[in-house]
């Protein structure tokens, strides 16, 4: 089991859910509005007057063999719309109930 944290521009939400569905990743937890900014470039997502856009975050636990497909799909989505911003981070899940 791996955990994937996906942080992305709000506008991506529907597409990401679709990617998860297609890869049989049923479970996830999402935060509808989070703020933050990228490490290198892209507009900050603060929900403020100057930077009005906002981001969302989804954390999902997937089987190991699915991680690459999911990441590949996410990368494709990000490349398609580079200005919106989408990042995903993967780490191990040590235990769960």
């Amino acid at each position: 089991m791996k955990a994937i944290l996906i942080t992305f521009d709000q506008a991506h939400y529907d597409h990401i859910i679709e990617i998860l569905d297609r890869n049989n990743c049923r479970g996830f937890t999402s935060w509808a509005q989070v703020s933050g900014r990228g490490s290198n470039d892209g507009e900050p997502h603060y929900g403020s007057h100057a930077w009005p856009s906002l981001a969302s975050a989804i954390i999902t636990m997937v089987d190991d063999h699915r991680v690459d497909t999911v990441l590949g799909r996410l990368k494709a989505l990000d490349d398609e719309r580079p200005k919106l911003g989408l990042r995903a981070f993967v780490w191990d899940v040590e235990k769960s109930i």
């Binding site: 709000q10 506008a11 991506h12 009005p52 856009s53 200005k83 919106l84």
Partner: protein
């Protein structure tokens, strides 16, 4: 879930909601009546008290003054004016506009109850009479007749007036100029005396002969019969054979002492249509009824009425007030449609995409149509004010949608799906969209709070625009994102046609952006010079203010003139008629524009309500002139009125002559006039001041028709009876006076009935026996013993002058000198007159005050200035709340200065004067102009928050906001252009408003785009410097 979120999620519900609104709106539109102005409640009450036999001065002292003193304490009273004439006192109470007249009527009634016990015993109970615009006739019909002339009254009464009076909404129909049938028994006084008879005896005999008396019922066998005596005359000839007395044992018949004249009433009003004698039918509406509807019904009936008339009787239309209303509304509807077209073109030009254009322009019909629902619910009508509101709003309702669409497009271009972009893009701008709508509401909502006549007019404008703004904002936050999500595409491929068409446009717009960027860079680098130039322009424009005159309302050309002419008192009606016929012939030749010219002369009979309410008499001529439509003639109505006044100067027969533009409509639309009120108790002193003032006014250029309200002393014959002598003969004054009246005026003996109509039978002296003073002195008066005595034996006939009507205003005697203002602004005439008055030597106790239109104008201007201040404060509050700053709104507010400069400059250049309409335009500017500043400052401060330097923020911000600013400004300006250049009927009214907005907006936008960024730089630098200084200070203090 937010409004826009659910709207995008549920497109069907959203669409249908708006479809429902549109359907409701269109349904309301169908039920809306058409009118010229919003319903203006009457604000005047008249209190009429008759006191038979009292002279003007007695009336003033004993009736008018006590009443005035009590009525003066009624609430909301603006002015109290009164006219004390012989026998009658008429008090007019003028209240503040917009008060409930029914409540006031009750107040007045209560006050009258208080005072009625202290009035003279013989005075009748005061009558309260409501006067409103409903009293003004809506249609005047002309009737021409040849052979039918003698029986015209009856024909018209039966075939025209009665059917018309049955039309729903028609109040009263009066016929003037068609004398009624009357049967005269002309008595020869000499024969009467020979047979020892009196007029009173004859009258009572005629009355007792002309009777039908039921005799009861009686039974014959098994049947019951009723018994009657049918004694009424079947024809007037029968009267000749009445036995009126006996002399020397022989019967004296009526034919022996009198001749029977079955003809028309002696003194009647005569009417001439286009120089031909005829009649006039006056139609008034019921109060609250709609004139256009009624006139439609009446006009539809005319052909069928015409069929029922004898072939020589022709009906025609002199005045149809609804004509003007219909034409005015039609030309205003045209204006609205043009505005719509221009706005669509501007949007398409700037956006270059038909889908985007469609999304934005769809908000226009929705907001406009939704406002009809408001009109229908509140019982208002489609009128000048509500339609102007539509025209004004067209350019503004698209603004919110444009902002939303722009942001959604940006999101889509960044890669969002249209659906997501619509929600998030709208979310980002929702607050600023609402804030900018709030600034506009801050401008228009206070309009609903204005009092006075301006308030009555502009309340509707305020509500309409406020409602349309709210609807457009709701639309921009729901319908617009929904449509964006459905219609906008991520990747737009432009076709060849697009590139060919919009390639140059886009290049041009880019070049425009860059040019502005360079100019802005220069300006920001030369702050001092820019500020100096801008302030100099502003100050310079203030000097123009002196050259822009002021007036109350512009004069509207409704193609109607009314002319009131007065010959010296006592002139015979034939002379008045002859002179006027000559005048009419001259005018018909000189002015081919005249379509119908009609005049009425003579004393109105008391049962003609319309005529008897207006001034009438043998020497008074009132004339209606109808000109062809304004579009069809070269000369304007004011010019024609001016020429007519010149013509009238060549008719010295007329003592007073008045040419009024726009009929008798009063303040709105008519030509401006100034009243000078001369207060003072002493008749001769005030008379002389009035005469001097009249001469002074006539010398001032721009005045015309200078008239003094107080009429001349009226010459008349009075019989002074010697009471002692009367007593000797066993007579009293009343008997003696009644004898005089019966012989000259006649005594109505009975009524002659024919075909269900009744005609008066009058007994009086033969006309040839009442032509000299001798005839009066020879009248025989009989006492109860039957002994006769001549008038000359018991009294004297003397010629006297009765004092004129005593006019009072606010409980002081007054004479009004009135002048029409022609060709120049009212303010110039007032200034010149004031100068002349200052030079005049005015006796102690006499004072002169300005009133009339000028007073109304001053009141309105004061109200509007107060309103402007209130609006500026409100707008400031909204902006300060939005920016969370005191300085930024102040910077934006400076653009207002240029807006007002712009108004003055364009008024000066176009030769318009400052009036209520242009003031309203200027007030609207407060909201519109400030919006540009908000867009600019908002984006500049956004840039700064993103970390750009002040200079960069200003230049980049300016460059990127140029298009939205220019676009919204252009939509507003082009929306106003049809108003400003309109030539249709009534266009004079709203032209100043459109011109003022265009001038102010253009000028202020240009200067705002340069001045506001510079000021921002200055203040931002200062802000940073102060912050740094504070920071250093705190560092130092910490050390």
């Amino acid at each position: 879930m937010s409004l826009y979120g659910s709207a995008v999620k549920r497109p069907i519900m959203t669409t249908l909601c708006f479809v429902a609104v549109v359907i409701l709106g269109l349904f309301s539109l169908k039920t809306l009546p058409i009118d010229l102005y919003p319903d203006i409640d009457t604000n005047t009450l008249m209190v009429m008290t008759t006191y038979q036999g009292a002279s003007a001065q007695d009336i003033e002292q004993n009736v008018t003054r006590p009443l005035e003193n009590v009525l003066n304490s009624v609430n909301d009273l603006k002015h109290i004016t009164s006219k004390s004439r012989e026998n009658i006192s008429v008090i007019t109470l003028e209240f503040e506009y917009g008060k409930d007249i029914d409540v006031l009527t009750n107040d007045v009634r209560d006050k009258l109850d208080l005072v009625s016990s202290s009035l003279p015993d013989d005075a009748e109970t005061p009558i309260i009479f409501k006067f409103s615009t409903d009293m003004i006739p809506i249609i005047l019909l002309s009737v021409q007749a040849d052979e039918s002339m003698p029986g015209l009254y009856k024909i018209l009464d039966e075939a025209v007036a009665n059917p018309l009076a049955r039309v729903n909404g028609v109040g009263s129909v009066s016929i003037s100029g068609a004398p009624k049938r009357e049967i005269h028994i002309y008595v020869d006084p000499v024969r009467l005396e020979a047979y020892n008879l009196t007029i009173e005896q004859i009258a009572s005999i005629v009355a007792s002969e002309n009777r039908n008396i039921p005799g009861g019922a009686f039974d014959i066998g098994s049947d019951t019969y009723s018994l009657r005596v049918q004694g009424e005359f079947a024809s007037s000839d029968e009267m000749r054979d009445i036995v009126v007395g006996s002399y020397d044992g022989r019967n004296v018949f009526l034919r022996d002492v009198a001749r029977i004249d079955d003809s028309l009433e002696e003194r009647a009003q005569q009417t001439f249509n286009n120089g031909v004698k005829g009649a006039m039918i006056v139609i008034q509406k019921q109060s609250g009824a709609n004139s256009v509807e009624i006139s439609d019904k009446v006009l539809k009936m005319l052909p069928s009425l015409q069929k029922r008339l004898p072939s020589d009787v022709k009906l025609g239309i002199i005045v149809d007030t609804s004509d003007n209303i219909r034409n005015t509304i039609a030309s205003l509807v045209e204006t609205v449609l043009y505005a719509l077209l221009f706005v669509v073109i501007v949007v398409f030009f700037f956006l270059g995409r038909w889908r985007a254009t469609l999304i934005i322009t769809i908000t226009i019909p929705i907001s406009l149509i939704a406002s009809f629902i408001y009109l229908a619910i509140t019982g208002n009508s489609l009128n000048i004010v509500s339609l102007s509101a539509l025209s004004i709003s067209i350019g503004m309702v698209v603004d919110d949608a444009i902002v939303v669409l722009e942001n959604v497009t940006t999101h889509i271009e960044r890669g969002s799906d249209p659906k997501q972009a619509a929600v998030h893009g709208t979310n980002e701008v929702a607050v600023s969209v609402i804030a900018s709508t709030l600034t506009l509401i801050a401008v228009f909502f206070p309009l609903t709070l204005v009092t006075g006549m301006t308030g009555v007019l502009f309340r509707q404008l305020g509500w309409m625009v406020t409602i349309m703004m709210i609807i457009s904002t709701v639309c921009a936050l729901s319908l617009t994102p929904m449509l964006c999500s459905l219609l906008l595409r991520r990747a737009t491929h432009h076709g060849k046609v697009y590139n060919a068409l919009f390639g140059p446009v886009n290049r041009g717009l880019d070049a425009f952006d860059n040019g502005y960027g360079r100019l802005l860079t220069w300006v920001v680098g030369h702050k001092l010079i820019t500020i100096i130039i801008c302030i100099a322009t502003f100050v310079g424009s203030l000097f123009l203010m002196k050259h822009v005159g002021t007036e109350f309302f512009p004069t509207a050309d409704d193609g109607r003139l009314s002319v009131n002419l007065e010959l010296p008192i006592g002139t015979r009606v034939e002379i008045a008629q002859e002179v006027t016929e000559r005048l009419v012939r001259q005018w018909q030749e000189e002015y081919p524009e005249i379509k119908v010219i009609n005049f009425t002369v003579g004393t109105a009979s008391s049962d003609n309500t319309f005529a008897s309410l207006s001034d009438n008499g043998p020497h008074i001529v009132s004339m209606n002139v109808k000109l062809s439509d304004p579009g069809l003639r070269d000369r304007g109505i004011v010019e024609i009125a001016g020429l007519m006044r010149e013509d009238l100067k060549h008719y010295p027969q007329y003592k007073k002559a008045q040419v009024r533009v726009g009929g008798n409509m009063g303040a709105m639309g008519g030509q401006a006039s100034v009243d000078f009120e001369i207060y003072g108790y002493n008749f001769s002193e005030t008379d002389s001041v009035a005469q001097r003032l009249k001469r002074a006014l006539e010398a001032i250029p721009g005045t015309a028709d200078v008239n003094i309200s107080r009429s001349d002393y009226q010459p008349e014959y009075q019989v002074d009876f010697d009471r002692e002598k009367l007593a000797i003969y066993g007579l009293n004054l009343q008997t003696a006076a009644t004898y005089l009246r019966n012989r000259i005026n006649g005594s109505t003996a009975s009524r002659f009935r024919e075909d269900g109509e009744e005609y008066d039978i009058k007994v009086l002296y033969d006309p040839e026996h009442r032509t000299s003073l001798d005839d009066i002195e020879n009248i025989l008066i009989y006492n109860s013993a039957g002994k006769g005595v001549r008038v000359r034996d018991v009294g004297k006939v003397v010629e006297r002058f009765t004092p004129p009507t005593i006019e009072r205003k606010d409980r002081e005697r007054i004479i009004t000198v009135n002048t029409v203002v022609q060709d120049v602004p009212m303010s110039e005439v007032v200034a010149a007159a004031q100068e002349a008055i200052d030079k005049m030597d005015i006796p102690q106790g006499v004072s002169i005050q300005l009133a009339g239109n000028y007073e109304d104008q001053q009141d309105s201007f004061r109200d509007l200035l107060m309103l402007a201040v209130l609006i500026i404060i409100l707008v400031y509050i909204v902006m300060a709340a939005q920016f969370e700053s005191y300085t930024y709104p102040a910077i934006i507010m400076t653009s207002l200065l240029f807006a007002f400069s712009g108004v003055f400059i364009i008024l000066y250049l176009s030769g318009h004067s400052l009036n209520v309409m242009s003031m309203i335009g200027a007030i609207m500017l407060i909201g519109i102009v400030v919006k540009n500043g908000i867009v600019l400052i908002d984006y500049i401060s956004l840039n700064r928050e993103r970390g750009l330097s002040i200079r960069r923020s200003v230049i980049d911000g300016g460059k990127s906001r140029l298009r939205p600013v220019v676009m919204t400004t252009l939509t507003t300006i082009l929306g106003m252009v049809p108003m400003a250049v309109g030539t249709g009927q009534g266009a004079e009214m709203w032209r100043p408003m459109g011109t003022a907005v265009i001038g102010g907006l253009t000028f202020s936008t240009i200067l705002t785009l340069l001045f506001v960024p510079v000021l921002y730089c200055v203040f931002a630098h200062n802000g940073i410097r102060n912050a740094r200084r504070k920071f250093h200070k705190s560092l130092r203090s910490k050390k």
